[in-house]
Subunit: 270 residues, 2 copies
């Protein structure tokens, strides 16, 4: 239980605050990425007090797992995280995420999965391969990574379920970053465990497999001139994403000192 | 009635096949654009048999209204259209649209409204100011045209109505062209006339007003180097849009000869 481990170091891979099907899914996704990308990844170099941290009163806990790519690899970094915080209402907010960013040796899409649970019966799911070029200018990119991979079938599958409703991020920038096949949904059901096991898990694993096969191992290289553009776009997208995701919530949840420590450690890659 | 005017030239502004509230809305939007942009626009130069055409059996009718911008204006062109065709089921499909494209003297967004009615109780509404730059690279653009104008409030208003559901275009390219505040919805109700009058009309008029004030008359000029990029992006977006919208449906509905005549006339601006 939370109280038992309160004060101890809570490991990223433990996902100690979420349901078993939620935890199983996250462990599976992180393990799959780390196994397939193994030779491409440096060890996690975050300080222990950034790998796992909490607020003074012990009502908010979080863990981070960051591995940068080795020089010759197409990987920029992978970042896993979880966050748990008690809500004034008596419930708790639990967020778990895994993102994988490629570097400018390739223009293939990144990978992103995020599960945001604010009640036992409601969850927001974000699952996408965000594009790294302006698709309007590059229909071939759309064909290669989104049409030929049939990514939209996963979104369509969830769309047919009565428990699933579209979710709109309050950030217009986040809405702009995602792909045209992005899964952005709110799931409302008494059987959330079952829903994760039956529908969310198979889709998330399938989309990660597509990303690994077609993007991380796609051997799609780009020229020197395009790399400058990619780096500029990636840098903007990363800095805006971290600002929107963490800029205001980290200080509020963990205090300014911890927030500074965490953001400083992330600035290495963001 | 349709039979009375069958065979005659049906004028674009008559919108002869749609309900009165649908027609009133389209006439209002087209009139507003033409009044505000009057000195910027050349007369419609389409041949009469492209301004209005039909198929051999008289089951499909369409009209087009195209006015290009004068040299010194920020307007590329405005294009209005309607399409009516009898369905094998006994019903009819009615599509009306108005789009306004700016030229590369400015990078401000375009305007687009399309109402697609395939039954007396169901309508798809597309209403947007599609961006003309890659928003991921340009958060200031997002602030200027989408945050500061509070465009998302209109989408949110419709989203709250039980008769309104999100609509996903089957074309991933069209999904990529629209803005993060785009209204893409399906409206299902027995009171479609009332719904257009009470909810769709005020929002469409308000969004057109925003487009006219902030985009068409925004005096946002761009440098020479950016114009090359804008022209390339606009050209790609226009040619893909016309290919997706008309490429296969025009020959199917009106025969190859008429389709060629219409596409040839539109190629002047697309």
């Amino acid at each position: 239980s939370a109280s038992k481990i309160h004060g101890d170091q809570m490991a990223f891979m433990d996902f100690p605050f979420v349901s078993s099907s939620h935890r199983d899914l996250m462990v599976d996704l992180v393990s799959t990425v780390e196994t397939r990308l193994d030779s491409f990844l440096n060890p996690c170099g975050l300080p222990p007090d950034v790998q796992s941290y909490q607020n003074e009163t012990g009502t908010a806990h979080a863990a981070l797992h960051l591995r940068s790519g080795v020089q010759s690899s197409p990987i920029d970094f992978i970042l896993g995280s979880w966050l748990h915080c008690k809500l004034p209402s008596g419930g708790a907010l639990n967020i778990t995420s895994l993102s994988a960013y490629l570097n400018s040796s390739t223009d293939a899409p990144n990978f992103l999965v995020e599960l945001i649970q604010s009640s036992p019966t409601s969850m927001v799911l974000i699952l996408d391969l965000p594009p790294r070029v302006d698709i309007v200018l590059d229909p071939d990119y759309l064909n290669t990574f989104y049409e030929d991979t049939q990514l939209d079938q996963h979104r369509q599958h969830l769309d047919k379920l009565s428990e699933v409703k579209p979710y709109y991020s309050s950030s217009l920038y986040i809405r702009s970053v995602v792909s045209p096949t992005a899964i952005l949904v709110r799931i409302e059901t008494e059987q959330l465990e079952e829903m994760i096991k039956t529908h969310v898990s198979p889709i998330a694993k399938e989309m990660l497999k597509t990303w690994l096969d077609v993007c991380a191992f796609g051997d799609r290289v780009v020229g020197e001139s395009e790399r400058v553009y990619l780096k500029k776009r990636d840098d903007m997208s990363k800095s805006k994403t971290i600002e929107i995701d963490l800029g205001s919530s980290l200080p509020r949840l963990f205090g300014q000192e911890t927030a500074n420590r965490v953001l400083e450690a992330l600035r290495e890659v963001f």
